[in-house]
Structure formats: C-alpha cells, structure tokens
Amino acid sequence: MVRPCVICDKERAVVKRPKTGQKVCRECFYYVFETEIHNTIIDNKLFKKSDKVAIAASGGKDSTVLAHVMKLLNERYQYGLELFLLSIDEGITGYRDDSLETVKRNQQQYELPLKIVSYSELYGWSMDQIVKEVGLKNNCTFCGVFRRQALDRGAVMLDVDHIVTGHNADDIAETVLMNILRGDIARLQRCTEICTTGEGCIRRSKPFKYTYEKEIVMYAYFKKLDYFSTECIYSPNAYRGHARTFLKDLEVIRPSAIIGEAFEVKKEVKLPIQGVCKRCGYMSSNELCKACVLLEGLNRGLPKLGIGKTQRMRKVHGDMPRDTAIIPHFNRIQISNGNYDDSNKPNEELQKNNKIDQG
C-alpha cells in the first residue's frame, strides 16, 4: 500500500495525527509536533526573554518530552530562557526513587541544572510515612496538595519566574470532566487556563495544552527518549481512571472531544477569594491552606483533620498546640545558590524557625 506523507508527499506516512487525521512521515511529524508547541508558546506569550523557567520533571513521559522540547525550542527559536529541572521527591520507595533516577539521567542528557525538593525536607513526612498513618484511602489528597505547594516552594528556591508542567490535552480533558462531576465550579473555570498566577506566586503554564497524549508517546518512542512508566504503588487513582477510560473511548469516536476551551462562570457567581494562609503564607482561599491543615492533622495524630469535618474535629480536639511543627513560612524560603542537590537533608534551621514563628 503506497501511502505518502500528506505534508512532504515523499516519505511514507507512519503516524495518523489524532487532531487532524493527517497521515505524516516521521520527520514531518517531528516538525509539526514541535512547531505547534512553539506556536502555543508564542500565541499565548508564555515567556519573556531571559525568563528563568523550571520544568516540573517527574521522569514520566510528559515531563521527559517537555524537557526535550523546551530545550530544543529554546535553542531553535532563541527564546533566551534559562531552564531548570525541578523534581519533587514524595518519598515513595520503589516508585519515586526509581523515577528520580530517570530525571537524573535526563539532567545529564539535557545538561540542565536539577533541583529536588523532598516532602521529608519540607513537611517532615514522606509519603511512605503518611500512608502508614492514614492508610490507602485519602493518601492521594495529601500527595496532591503537598506536591502543588512543594513545586512552588522549589521554584522560589531556584529563584525562577515560571514553572512549566507536562499536562497535555488529554489530562486537561480528564480534569474538566472530574470537576464537572464534582461540581467544583471554581476549578472548572481555572483548570483549562494555559497560564495561571497566584498572588505573589510564580506563573505556571502548560505548553502541551493542545498536544495529544498519543503524539507525546509517539514522539518519545520515535526519538527513543528515556522515560519512566510505572504506576504509583499507592494510587489506584480510580476516579481519574474512570474519566480517562471514558475519554479514550470518546476519542475513538471523535478525536476532537479531547480539545476544549475554558468554561466561563458568570460574573454574578460568587467564587472563593484567594488570600494567603495565615500560618505558612502560601496562597489559600481559607484562613489556613489545605497543606497546613493536613500537616497539622498528621503531626497531632489526627490524620482525618484535613479530610472531613475540620471544624467539628477542632471543637472536639481543640486548636493546634504551640509546639507542633509547621511548614516554613513562604516568605522565608532561602534561594539555593547553584548547589541544588541538597534535597535529602532535613533543614534543622527551618524547623527551629517554625517553632518561633507560631506565636
């Protein structure tokens, strides 16, 4: 069967693009894949010249391809960005320790500085310890809340302007669906934005917003990129899994189902106002941010404190005792100077500061 590439009309087509149905050869596939991401970056004015940008790197397919493409486009189009890899070590033996090895190889391959921030360092708890305490039911809540804040804190340590994440079109479609099913109006509006900024916080964007997962995996396969693909040992991730299966089934029938734009919430609808956590200074729409409440629960032996009826539990168990360890204040994060690989040492200085801060 003769089937030339629809772009160059010379080479044999090897990929059917889900977005357009185009049949393209390997070289043209690379070209359109990379160029579309470049166009996304330019059309949305994601970066300014000489921005310092951290690539959130897990060692998985999306972030590995993101690191590769960011480095390539930065050189090809002279964005003038200073790129870093930023990884979070949740402390999951047999999962994250292996995937961090992949990130360390990526660091060598792409010659980018790498900063690893660990949950142990930041919160005094690894996910292994948290799971021992809370079991396998709500552990993903802890991990998700802690990761988001850890990335922002890592970005401050790196003194960067911007974090890019590997969220792709399929991921965003899943999140939209999950937010609809949960009735989470505030997030429904936010979750499709290509770039978000918290108050005083670092910009966060998704250069793969319009990139299909299939193409990311095909790209990684053809380019033989080194990525890690084991499922987290603690996460059945059932809810997202169902959304994912449903969307993959939809994609077979109509591939454009994956690409969607923002839902706009009417102006009259009251949305939570973003403020700052009074305990750790991180952005929060409540008096205390979720990470602080979850950590307080862990440290007081009340792991459910941040999961269910926080107010009711406070009535029974009282307020936090003064000597409970808390997260270092956001405004006191130290910028690391070139020495990025200090992730495994718990920071005793900060622990002491915590206790002073609590008054």
Binding site: R3, R12, A13, V14, V15, K16, K23, S58, G60, K61, D62, S63, S99, G166, D170, D171, E213, K214, I216, V217, M218, Y221, F222, Y227, F228, S229, T230, E231, C232, R244, T245, K248, D249, E251, V252
Partner: protein, 111 residues
C-alpha cells in the same frame, strides 16, 4: 499453511501487564482461521487465550480489561506495526507477515 515469526514488544507500562516482559518472539500459524491469512484480530484475540497464558502466568487472563476492550485493543494503548501507527495499517484487519515487528505502548501509565 506455514509458521510465521513475529516479534512482540511491550512498553510505556504495558510490560507490567506481562510480568515485565519487554520482548517476546513468537511463532504463529500464517492462517489461524483457515483459509484466511492471520490478521491482527487473530493475534489480539489469541492473546487472550494462549500466548498470554504462556508468557505471563495467566496474568492477563484474570484482568483482560487492562489490555482488551470489546474485540479490540483498549483505547489508550498504541500499536505500531513495523514502526508504523497501526491506524494506517488497517488495525485489526492487517494481515500479519513473517518477520513483523509489533509494538504495544501504553499511554495510560504515569505522567
């Protein structure tokens, strides 16, 4: 009717469904459903019944839904035949030839 050699590869997390086997050379009949030539459909169905049991101690027989959906490969698992997207090769209708290199890549893992 004769035997044809096929190389199967599993990656992107697919190998986890197969006891971490990343590659497997198999020999199958050139006509599993005589008189028709063996197609991807025959291979994928056969997967569920014989080959898989041999290579992975019944792992997939217990949870075929991780690999199969209806009569086909589960959406989200990419298939390449001789380094070409199987969507360009007729998917289940593709007639398998001696020496074919078939790769299954999960997009459903990690990220």
């Amino acid at each position: 009717m004769s035997l044809i050699k096929v190389k199967l590869s599993f990656s992107g997390g697919m190998e986890l469904l197969f006891n971490n086997i990343k590659q497997k050379h198999i020999e199958i009949s050139s006509s599993i459903n005589p008189p028709n030539a063996t197609t991807m459909k025959d291979l994928v169905c056969k997967f569920n019944f014989t080959i898989l049991i041999k290579i992975s101690d019944n792992l997939l027989k217990e949870r075929p839904e991780l690999f199969m959906s209806g009569d086909t490969v589960r959406p989200g698992i990419l298939v390449l035949i001789n380094e070409t997207d199987w969507e360009l090769e007729g998917e289940l209708e593709y007639e398998i030839k001696d020496g074919d290199d078939i790769v299954f890549i999960s997009t459903l893992h990690g990220g």
